[in-house]
C-alpha cells in the first residue's frame, strides 16, 4: 500500500516534470515561455479561431518567409476572445485571428487591440479606428437545386422565401453561427419586428432544420429539399468531393440582409510586439495569402488585387445590408432568443 502511494507520487512527478522538460526541448510547445517576457524576441503568439486545417499551412509559410517563430493556440473564436479579455494586460497573445468579425469587435471594444494597417481592404471590412482588418470574406447565398428550380424563379430578396410556394422546400441550419449572424444583420438593418415576421413566415413554410451548412447542401443534392440558406463556399467544397453536384448558388440583391458578406479577420493585441504583428497582418493581406484563401477555402479575397474564385460575382456587386460587422456579436443573445422563441431553434 505504501509502495502504491510511492508509485503514484513518482508517476505524478514524472508527468509534471517530464512534460515540463518537453517544453524546453521542443520550442513549439513552450507555454510559460510565451508570456510577456519574450515579446519581440522573434516569436509570435497567435490565438486562432480559424482551424488548424484551414490556416496551419499558411502560418507555416509565414514562419518560413519571415523567420519569426509562430506559436498558435487554436480554439473557438468567441472563447478565445473571452480568454483574451480575462487575460487583460498579461495576455500572452500577440495576434488574434478570428473566424468572424463579431469576436474581433468585442476585443476591440474592450480596448485591447492596437491599430493595424488595413492596406487596400475596403472600409466595409475594417473595424472602427482600424482596430482589426478582414482577411477573407464569405457571402450568404441561397443554394438551389439546378434540377428542380429555375434560376429565374428565385426571388432576389430573402423576404420572399416566406411565400407559400416555398412550403416544404427550404433547409437551414439554425444553430450555425453564420445563420445567426445573418439574422442579426436582418435585425440591425430591417428591425426586430420585420425579422420576427420573417422567421415566423419561414417557420410556417415548414423548413427542414439541419445541423450544419454542408448538410443543407447535401439535402438539396439528395432531393430532400430544393433550396437552402448557406454561405457561398459550401457548394464548392462539396463539389470537390462529389463531382456532378446538382446545386448552385443564387446571390441576392444589394442591400438585402440575405446578401450579407461576413469576414474572418485579424487584430494585433496592444500587449504584443507591434513590429512582428504588423508583419503577419501584411502577410495575410499579401497576394500570396489572399490567393490561398481564394483557392483553398473558396473565400473572397478582400484586397481587390486578387481574383475571387471562378463563378463568384465580383465583391463590388455584393453590397450587403448597411451595418457594422463588429456589431453582430453584440446582437447575438437577442438574436438567438428570437430564433428560439419563433421555434426554429428547438
Amino acid at each position: 500500500m505504501t509502495r502504491l502511494l510511492a508509485l503514484l507520487a513518482v508517476l505524478l512527478v514524472v508527468v509534471l516534470t517530464g512534460c515540463g522538460t518537453d517544453d524546453k526541448s521542443s520550442p513549439s510547445s513552450g507555454a510559460a515561455s510565451s508570456s510577456a517576457s519574450d515579446k519581440g524576441d522573434g516569436t509570435l503568439t497567435i490565438y486562432s479561431g480559424r482551424s488548424e486545417d484551414l490556416v496551419g499551412p499558411l502560418l507555416d509559410t509565414f514562419e518560413k518567409q519571415s523567420g519569426i517563430e509562430v506559436k498558435v493556440r487554436y480554439g473557438e473564436s468567441a472563447e478565445l476572445a473571452a480568454t483574451i479579455a480575462e487575460e487583460g494586460e498579461n495576455s500572452p497573445a500577440e495576434v488574434f485571428f478570428s473566424q468572424d468579425a463579431g469576436a474581433l469587435g468585442a476585443v476591440a471594444e474592450a480596448g485591447l487591440l492596437a491599430q493595424v494597417n488595413s492596406g487596400q481592404v475596403d472600409r466595409r471590412w475594417v473595424g472602427a479606428d482600424e482596430r482589426w482588418v478582414g482577411t477573407s470574406g464569405r457571402a450568404r447565398v441561397v443554394a438551389y437545386s439546378t434540377e428542380r428550380v429555375k434560376k429565374t424563379d428565385l426571388p432576389d430578396t430573402i423576404f420572399d422565401f416566406t411565400q407559400p410556394e416555398w412550403k416544404g422546400r427550404i433547409a437551414l441550419a439554425p444553430t450555425n453561427a453564420s445563420f445567426q449572424a445573418f439574422v442579426s444583420a436582418m435585425r440591425l438593418s430591417a428591425g426586430d419586428k420585420r425579422t420576427q415576421a420573417w422567421l415566423e413566415g419561414i417557420k410556417a413554410n415548414d423548413p427542414t432544420l439541419l445541423d450544419g451548412n454542408s448538410d443543407v447542401v447535401k439535402a438539396i443534392n439528395s432531393g430532400e429539399v430544393d433550396v437552402g440558406l448557406v454561405n457561398h463556399y459550401y457548394v464548392y467544397e462539396l463539389e470537390a468531393e462529389t463531382p456532378g453536384l446538382k446545386v448552385a448558388n443564387h446571390f441576392l440583391k444589394s442591400g438585402d440582409p440575405g446578401s450579407l458578406v461576413n469576414v474572418a479577420g485579424v487584430g494585433a493585441l496592444k500587449t504584443g510586439d507591434a513590429g512582428e504583428s504588423a508583419r503577419l497582418v501584411t502577410f495575410l493581406l499579401s497576394d500570396e495569402a489572399q490567393a490561398y484563401f481564394a483557392e483553398k477555402t473558396f473565400e473572397y479575397p478582400l484586397t481587390g488585387l486578387t481574383q475571387p474564385p471562378d463563378r463568384l460575382p465580383p465583391l463590388t456587386d455584393l453590397q450587403g445590408p448597411a451595418i457594422e460587422l463588429g456589431e453582430l456579436g453584440e446582437a447575438l443573445p437577442e438574436t438567438t432568443r428570437l430564433i428560439d422563441e419563433v421555434g426554429l431553434g428547438a
Binding site: S51, A78, P92
Partner: protein, 520 residues
Amino acid sequence: MSGRRAATALALAGALVAALAALPLVYLVIRSAGADADAWETLLRFRTLELVGRTLALVGTVTAAALGIGVTLAWLVVRTDLPARRLVAVAAALPLVIPSYVVALALIAAVGPGGLLGQGNWIFGFPGAWTALTLATYPYVYLLCAAALRRADPALEEAARALGRTRAQVFRQVTLPVMRPSASAAAVLVALYTLSDFGVVSLMRFDALTRAIFTQYRTLFDRTPAALLGLLLVVLTIGVLALEARGRGRGRVVRAGAGAARPATITPLGRWRAPAAAAVGCVLAAAFAMPVATLVGWALRPSAEAPGAGDLLAWATNSVLISAAAAVVAILAALPLATLVARRPGRLSRGLERATFASNALPGIVVALSLVFFATRTVTPLYQTLPLLVFAYVVRFLPQALSGARDALGRVSPELEQAARGLGAGPARTFQRVTFPLLLPGLYAGATLVFLSTMKELPATLLLRPIGYDTLATQVWSATGTSSYAAAAPPALALIALSAPVVYALQVHLEQRTVASADI
C-alpha cells in the same frame, strides 16, 4: 502528532482544498459585482424563470431515469440469474467512456433528420437531450450501486427472507436501503453533470441555462450577465445538494464484522429472464453500441485527412498522462476533505464540501475562464502550463473523487479506528493500517471517475493547455470544427479504446475487494 493537532491539520488542509476548488465561485462573484440595471434586465429578458424551469425539469428527469436504469442494472447483475451477467457487468459501465456529445451525435445520426432508423425533428429539444444525458450518466449510478451491493453482507437479505419477508419486500426493505447512500451520491454526480452539460443541450437545441451562458460569453461585450446566470446555476446546485442530504438518509450501513465471504443468494428471474435480458440489451445498444458504430461508420468514410498512427500515439500519450496526473492529484486533494466530512460532520465541513461541488455544476468554459482570470493575475509563470491544467481538472472533477472517498469512509466503522487507537496505535499508524486499506476501493473508484472525465474534457483543455499539447479530445474537436467526421472518428475511437480497459479494471477491482474485505 497529538489527536488535536492532527484534527487541526486536517481541517486546515480540507479548508485549503475547498478554497482552491471554489475559485470559480469567487470569479463569478467578482464578475457579477459590477451588475447594473442593464445586466439584471438582460437576465430578465432571458426569460430566466423559464430557463430555470427547463433546466430543473431536465435535471430531475435525467436523474430519475439514470437512477431507475442504474439501480435496476446493478440489482440484475449482482443479485439475479440474468443471462451473460458477467459480460453485462462490464458492458453496463462502458458508456462512461463515451463523451456525451458523441451519444447525442449518434442519436441524431440514427433517428434525426435523414437518420438511418427513422426520420424527423422530434428528437430535437427535450426528448433528445433527456435520452442522450440519461444514457451517458446512468453508469455512475450503476457502478456505485453495484459496488455497494457486492460489499453488502448477504446475511442481511437472507435473514429478512428467513423472517418471512417476500422477495419484493426484501428488495424494498433491505436491498434498496443498502444501495441508498451510493445511489444518492451517484444521483448528485448525474445531476451536476446534467446541470453543467453544454455539448448535448446545444446539439439537441434544448434551451438550458448553460446554453444561455454560452450565448452570453459569445457576445462578450459584457460578461456580467453570464456571471449572473452562472451564479443562478450555483444556487440550483445548492438545491440539489440539499435534496441529496435528505436522500442519503441518516442511516449508516457498515459491516461491523467481516461476515461470511460468500456469494449472495441469487434471485431467479423465472419468466422475466428473457424480457429483462432484452431490456438490458436495448440500453447497452443505445448507450454503447450505437455511438461506437456511428464512429466506426465515420472512420470508414474515404478521406485524405485521417490522422497517422504516429500522431494518434502522441495524442493518446498526452491524454493518458495528463488524465492520470489529474486522477492522482484529485484523490490526494479529496482525502482530507472527505475525512473531515465523514469524521467531523458539521456546518463547517458540509459548507466546505458544497463549495467544491458548485464548481462541478458550472460549465467547463466558466471554470476555465475563472482560472485564466486568477492565473494571469497571480501565478503568471504557471499560466498555460501542465501543472495549471491539472489543477483545472481537479477543480472541475473533485466531487467525483470526493464521492468515491466519502462513500468509502462512510463504510469504515469508526469503532475499528477507535479499537486501533485503544490498542495503542497513533493516529498516523491507525490511518495507515486500518483506515487507508478500507478506503482504497473507494479512492480507486473516485480516481477512475476523474481519469475518465479528464480524458473527455475539452473547454479547459483548449484554453489552458500549453500551445501544441494536443490530446485525443482536442483533436476530435479540431476535426469536427471543419465538419470532417472522418478525421474525428479515429481519435474518438482511440479515446474509447483507451478508457475501456480502465473501466474494466475498476469493475474487476471492485469485485475482488468484495471477497478480500473478509480478510481485513
